[in-house]
Symmetry: C2
Subunit: 261 residues, 2 copies
Amino acid sequence: MEQNLLVRKLEGYGPLSVNDRMVIEKMTAANVATFRAKSNILADGECPEQIHLILDGWAARYKTLSNGKRRIMAFLIPGDFCHLHVTVLKQMDHGIIALTPCKAAMLDSRKLSDLANKRPNLTRALWWTTLVDEAVLRQWVVNATRPAFTAVAHLMCELHQRLKSIGLVKDGKFELPLTQAELAEATGITTVHLNRTLKDLRESGLIELRAHSLFIPNFAALAKAAGFNDRYLRLREGKKRGDDIRLVNALIGGDSLAVPN
Amino acid sequence: MEQNLLVRKLEGYGPLSVNDRMVIEKMTAANVATFRAKSNILADGECPEQIHLILDGWAARYKTLSNGKRRIMAFLIPGDFCHLHVTVLKQMDHGIIALTPCKAAMLDSRKLSDLANKRPNLTRALWWTTLVDEAVLRQWVVNATRPAFTAVAHLMCELHQRLKSIGLVKDGKFELPLTQAELAEATGITTVHLNRTLKDLRESGLIELRAHSLFIPNFAALAKAAGFNDRYLRLREGKKRGDDIRLVNALIGGDSLAVPN
DNA sequence: CGGTCCATTGATCTGCCTCAATTAACGTGG
DNA sequence: CCACGTTAATTGAGGCAGATCAATGGACCG
């Protein structure tokens, strides 16, 4: 990873000081693990000792049902944590699989805890990532009951916005290194039906997808078809609040931080 | 509320000191609001000033879709927070409606923040509630793609276990003050189909439901039919960890706390 | 005692699933 | 660099779970 995408992601929430950035970069560079495509990063039931942070590649949260089918409940991209709260909930209630070759920083939870205690704006930024994950999940619940066309379109919008926030979208185009089977598991429909739905989306001119590269010629049009509104992703949520960050810092007992307006 | 159900809920996670209990009880008693059935507790887009904690009654998180249909994404019962993190994310990305007459404590977020800072085990317990909410949401994503029979059975199991953890289940029986339309919105199926599904569940002897009172004669049987495993609800998660709570307290810089084994 | 909301049931329709097969892409060793 | 095996994408045909439309009975309430 040329540049630290966690830094970039967190800055999507609010300003970080130079120190914050340095500390994050040092921490995430310390201990990096590599995972092969289709290998498990964390198994269901496992009790991880460290916090995994995706630095490169795509991963997914999933559960395997009793009938052997798998349901993907979230896609993880660079800057996403696998299990931020190992100290509160030890055991995984789902698995995490690398969909592509992945690199992940292995963070010591104690160190991260210490760090967050000293840097309230970092604490808030970490909180923010958790709450956004939850908001995305709520949207997936909604999506799961909508018609396939809308649901798939919505997923494309979500991925576009999330990847854009970490700088992985160029001219409305981004890498989507997922198989149709994986997309199907994430939308809760069959591979066959997903394929037909993609065809519909292509034929309606909303997306261009070939060789795992997705191009959205007109994002507004796709968003309209999908009923997508990125408000729930809370990009720039913290920036809008610059004014009261000092108050918040005081409130949670943290050190002060110069905040650009 | 005869006894404070938040206390009871949090004790489902781990031990609270006498002080913790007192502080919570005082705080939740201070400022209580009442909501009529079918009234909005928090509207989508609203920026709440206070943290709402359900003390009595049932509420639901929901989103209204562009076609006017509503999707319920969570049921809130006594002890549940509506929006614990008003300081991190100001604006609601969904609405919260009282399904029955409700009472809710209105907590000052600043005070709660202060309190949590002084009481690390309370902080951890609050974290726990957030993480369990997320785990439930993941399960709802899975549920939304399963057949109606299984999905409804699973919901019944979830509600049974959650209500049991706050002492609202007696002899396998509890009040379920929801209309079939509301249950349908929560499972993502039609009212008509939900009705038929309930009929199926009744006829297979797994549930007895009449006059908004649900009786589960054989929970294990229902759980088996639903593919339900309550591990994800993390009841007694903290208790199992009693041994290392001191370590954790030290880790997050908190005061020490006597822990029963 | 009529109005309103809720539960229940029937009949019909359809989006998506299942089963099945063909074609395209990809990787790997000869 | 091509042949071949494997995995991924695509298309067809038929079936079913659940949606839609419609109507009736029951419960609660002012």
